[in-house]
């Protein structure tokens, strides 16, 4: 399973980065960049929580 950011709607609020700074940064254009997109069983819940908390609903998991 992988997590991805939709850059067309991301506003760079950084809720994702504050929660999981090892996965998400805000890049040069002020939008989220996923720097570690592999989601395994151990961190599935953490990533799911970040997806729920994204204020612009710009994150999703794919590859089920």
């Amino acid at each position: 399973v992988k997590v991805a950011a939709r850059r067309s709607t991301c506003e760079g609020g950084a809720a994702c980065m504050l929660a999981l700074p090892d996965r998400f940064i805000i890049g040069d254009d002020g939008k989220a960049v996923v720097i570690d997109d592999e989601v395994d069983e151990d961190d599935y819940e953490d990533v799911a929580a970040v997806i729920r908390n994204c204020p612009t609903n710009s994150l999703r998991m794919t590859g089920y």
Binding site: G13, A14, L18, D22, G27, D28, G30
Partner: protein, 412 residues
């Protein structure tokens, strides 16, 4: 040409009244306009929640306060070395330099690494409290909150625990040099602080050397070999600089977050009672503490490109203060904004910032706050203030001078 700005006339954020209660001082400024120009501070004040959040993400606002100073040659030879180091701090950098540093730092802030620190933090807080109780001390800052973050950062960097007190000294010295805290004895202390920092550089170089010859499970080892594809690794000076940044950014803010949190609970006894009765409320209480009386009152940005916000034109070369202390009490965003409610939800406070510079240590800070608050309220039953408190006069930091407490069974 005379330009009329919507003013925040007269508000001096360093006045005794604003030092004591910045929230009361800022409320009328925010109510008059979420964006205003302060003649006193010669800076735009962003006080509404929405505009402050905008300020954190706006590309026209730069965090780089060092390069312009270095370029203008306004820094004496004594401080030049420190400034050269701060130039490499990601908090003070713009892209693309920032992005590279941040990617590498991300490797060092692995969530699992941070979570594993929980046990270390609990043990450390308990041993500080053991000594606090056994020796009948009163000041929670001096004896509990001040020693804590240095020892956590020492652990993260892989330094021997015995050296953790040196970390706290260096951190205080760094604050003095970087932001000119320290008041009247500043010049003398400034020179001593610079000597202390030279010692810190030497110490970090040894840690880097040790990690290079024997990599371990610590941040310096990760920084030496971050394995981030497509990103040039850090050189030793950059690693040194990042270590100093971790120490500086994680020290005073953490001390004050915990101390301000204890104070908020002691001045709201009903909330303290609620928390003590149900420790599952601690995480939400931490968020409310960060909103209510967070460690950073405001953050400074430079305007590099013209920006329009709320009908005001911010011009290149001007400064903007992103005033968390006002935004986090904005009644347009927070219901009952003037009430301290440890179960508040949602709580979109700005204590960790937003955008690319949002706090990379937020997880660690939350962990330290949760553990410290839980252990303090559990181990010091009947906790109460022993004397009225005072605040340091500071533009950016919300810092108590001391936190004198009593509790049931305090040794005389």
């Amino acid at each position: 040409v005379t330009v009329a700005y919507p003013g925040a006339p007269g508000l001096d954020l360093l006045s005794p009244a604003a030092t004591e209660d910045p929230y009361a001082s800022l409320a009328p400024v925010r109510a008059a306009s979420p964006v205003s120009y302060s003649e006193v501070h010669r800076a735009w004040l962003l006080t509404g929640h929405q505009v402050t959040a905008w300020g954190y993400t706006a590309r026209q606002l730069s965090s780089d306060r060092i390069r312009p100073l270095l370029a203008r040659g306004e820094i004496g030879p004594d401080s030049a070395r420190i400034m050269e180091m701060m130039r490499d701090w990601m908090v003070l950098s713009d892209p693309p330099a920032h992005t590279r540093l941040r990617r590498i730092a991300a490797a060092a802030f692995k969530s699992r690494r941070i979570a594993q620190l929980g046990e270390h933090i609990t043990a450390r807080v308990d041993s500080l409290l053991d000594e606090f109780i056994a020796t009948g001390q009163r000041d929670l800052i001096e004896h509990v909150t001040h020693p804590l973050p240095g020892s956590v950062i020492a652990e993260l960097l892989g330094a021997p625990p015995a050296d953790s007190d040196r970390f706290r000294e260096w951190s205080d010295e760094l604050a003095l040099v970087a932001f000119g805290t320290g008041g009247e004895h500043r010049d003398d202390r400034h020179v001593r602080a610079l000597h202390g920092l030279e010692e810190m550089f030497g110490y970090f170089r040894e840690l880097i050397g040790a990690a290079r010859s024997r990599p371990g499970d610590n941040m310096i080892s990760v920084l030496l070999d971050p394995q981030v594809p497509g990103v040039a690794p850090l050189d030793d000076d950059e690693i040194l600089s990042m270590c100093a940044l971790l120490l500086f950014a994680g020290h005073e803010t953490t001390i004050n977050s915990i101390a301000n949190g204890v104070l908020a609970l002691l001045t709201h006894p009903a909330e303290l009672a609620r928390l003590t009765a149900d420790l599952s409320l601690v995480p939400a209480a931490v968020e409310e503490i960060l909103r209510w009386d967070g460690p950073i009152k405001l953050v400074v940005r430079w305007i590099t490109d013209e920006a329009e916000v709320d009908g005001n034109v911010l011009r290149p070369g001007q400064r903007a203060y992103l005033v968390n202390a006002a935004a986090n009490r904005d009644p347009g965003i927070f219901d009952r904004a003037g009430e301290f409610d440890i179960t508040r939800s949602p709580n979109p406070h700005l204590a960790f910032g937003r955008g690319m510079h949002a706090c990379i240590g937020a997880q660690l800070a939350r962990l330290e706050m949760r553990v410290a608050l839980e252990r303090i309220v559990t181990r010091l039953p009947g906790l109460r203030l022993a004397q009225p408190v005072q605040w340091h006069s500071s533009l950016a930091s919300r810092a108590l001078t001391a936190l004198p407490v009593e509790y049931d069974g305090t040794r005389p």
